[in-house]
């Protein structure tokens, strides 16, 4: 599954394995080097919860990483601790504590030589992890967040209560205040989109105003869980388009 016709696309030969220290554990990662002229952007791919591997479903992140590298970006994907090839045992995927040590360790692992700007691409729980750990990080240039839950507890549904999680709100406000271009991508049939839509013109009105750096894009069908190949392709193309207009 290739998402676009990159003139040159990375392959395994362009990738290195890394073991990333994170607390007492070592996270397995794959670093994809840029093919052709480097863009100056590093992209960190963050998988979702439920033991999702660094490949993501149907190896969407492998294809995305190799396409992004074909556009000159350096890309890192990794297994959270206790998942895939990494050591340790993962906990309950708490949205209030989404493995920040793992994310911070992964960022530090990106090569320091001529430190690049950083773009985060996170799916669901991974989107929450990106916001939680790096919303105020000066290296962050942009984020693409797929179906991030608005709540901070349980699976993050806010339902009829319309009570947005304090952490979500805080991190979104930070991104807005820092003018970080951030794309929230939902599927029209996602329960998290229904949550978002409920508060879009009330609690979130100011955050997503016309002059905001935060934007939302709604794709057809169900995106959360990536349980359709077509949804994976749409999300990947959306991500590639978003990142390509950053430089």
């Amino acid at each position: 599954m290739r998402f676009m016709a990159a003139k040159t696309r990375a392959q395994a030969d362009d990738e290195h394995f890394v073991y990333i220290p994170a607390g007492a554990d070592h996270l397995f990662g794959v670093l994809t080097e840029p093919v052709g002229k480097p863009s100056g952007l590093d992209v960190l791919l963050l998988s979702g919860g439920m033991y999702t591997l660094s490949t993501n479903r149907n190896r969407m992140f492998v294809d995305l990483a190799r396409d992004l590298a074909g556009h000159g970006h350096r890309v890192l994907r990794f297994d959270y601790h206790g998942v895939g090839e990494s050591t340790g045992v993962i906990g309950p995927y708490a949205l209030s504590d989404p493995n920040p040590a793992d994310v911070a360790g992964a960022v530090e692992c990106l090569p320091g030589e001529g430190r690049n700007d950083l773009v985060l691409v996170g799916c669901c729980y991974g989107g929450g992890a990106a916001m939680h750990t790096l919303a105020d990080d000066p290296r962050v240039r942009s984020m693409v967040l797929m179906a991030p839950p608005l709540g901070d507890e349980g699976r993050g549904n806010i339902g009829d209560s319309c009570e947005i999680g304090a952490l979500f709100l805080k991190h979104a406000e930070t991104l807005r205040a820092r003018n970080i271009p951030t794309l929230f991508v939902y599927g029209a049939e996602d329960s998290y989109y229904h949550d978002f839509d409920r508060v879009r013109h009330t609690r979130l009105e100011a955050l997503f105003s016309d002059d905001s750096s935060l934007a939302v894009q709604v794709l057809p069908g169900e995106l959360h869980g990536l349980s359709w190949v077509r949804s994976q392709e749409l999300f990947a193309r959306t991500t590639l388009d978003w990142i390509s207009q950053l430089h």
Binding site: M1, Q11, A12, D13, E15, H16, F17, V18, Y19, H26, F28, V30, M50, Y51, T52, L53, T55, R57, N58, R59, V62, G82, V83, G84, E85, T87, V89, I90, G91, E222, G225, L226, S227, W228, V229, R230, S231, Q232
Partner: protein
């Protein structure tokens, strides 16, 4: 040792460092030519390996569901003194692109087996396979009649895909509430179109190449040592025991056991589990499988145990 000409990344310097865990080492590598490299990870004991096990995974959601327990199995085998190699078939996981067929999966296993034997300096190899990987493992070790342990081996490729198609219907019914607009999976694949199985691409080449196979045929000539481990409920265990008996009747040396645990490989969230490390059934499954494989593979089951 390599069957394929070209640069072998796994024998180059592409690995920054082995990971050390409990005195053992883990060595990820891309094995094979540029553009056709297979991701593999070799688990090495803390002393010279007494044999090797090659683990043949299943595909798609089953691959993901079983991934961690196969990592745990490989780590345990290394603790027991046996090298263990895992891989991602071409066109899957971290490996390079490639058309997935049953024959290509067997080729990938043989390539990684040769690489692993060279790295671990061993000759004796036994196999492990889960679900569709059981057919692959059976085929890969057929020429040498190597011992084989399996989790939920399908009796035939056709039976395997039938189950996948049933799960697809259940999954779509649970999601969109209807399967009325769903084309018949077999017809789609036979016409050369890929099938979207709950977010995983099933290509026609794999379906056509594997749906005519049977586990017994892939085992080759009896007697071959086989350990069939069935994960599931009592009814499924009974079915598996019946199948084991039929293989014995054909002259195979078959051990059979069952582990009472969920098998919701495909329906994420339906069986929201704790981490495999915290699930008693998984710990038992891994331990019993590892001890059988280590004994069959020449390792010392007491070492590190």
């Amino acid at each position: 040792m390599m069957a394929t000409a070209g640069r072998v990344l796994g024998e180059d310097q592409d690995v920054r460092a082995d990971l050390a865990t409990n005195g053992c080492r883990e060595r990820p590598a891309f094995v094979g030519p540029i553009g056709g490299a297979v991701f593999a990870c070799l688990h090495l004991p803390d002393k010279p390996a007494r044999g090797a096990v090659v683990l043949c995974s299943s595909i798609a959601a089953e691959w993901k569901f079983n991934y961690r327990r196969e990592v745990l199995l490989a780590r345990r085998l290394a603790e027991l003194g046996v090298a263990a190699a895992r891989l991602h078939y071409l066109g899957t996981g971290h490996s390079d692109d490639g058309e997935i067929t049953f024959g290509a999966m067997v080729d990938d296993v043989e390539r990684v087996r040769d690489w692993a034997c060279g790295q671990a300096d061993v000759e004796h190899v036994v196999y492990f396979g889960s679900r569709l990987g059981a057919l692959v493992a059976a085929a890969a070790g057929r020429a040498t009649g190597s011992p084989l342990a399996c989790w939920n081996a399908p009796t035939t490729g056709a039976a395997y895909f039938r189950e996948v198609f049933q799960i697809l219907r259940v999954g779509r019914l649970a999601g969109s509430g209807t399967v009325d607009d769903m084309p018949a999976a077999q017809d789609l694949l036979r016409s050369g179109q890929p099938l979207d199985v709950l977010g995983y691409t099933l290509g026609p080449a794999l379906y056509l190449s594997a749906s005519t196979l049977s586990f017994a045929d892939e085992l080759g000539s009896p007697p071959r040592r086989v350990n069939l481990i069935e994960i599931g409920d009592a009814r499924q265990a009974q079915q598996a025991a019946g199948y084991a008996a039929s293989l014995r009747d054909q002259g195979f040396d078959v051990a059979a056991s069952s582990v009472d645990d969920g098998r919701s490989w495909w329906l994420d969230g339906a069986d929201a589990p704790r981490a495999d490390e915290h699930r008693e059934a998984v710990v038992t499954l891994v331990e019993e499988t590892a001890i059988w494989l280590a004994a069959a593979g020449g390792g010392d089951a007491l070492h590190g145990g």
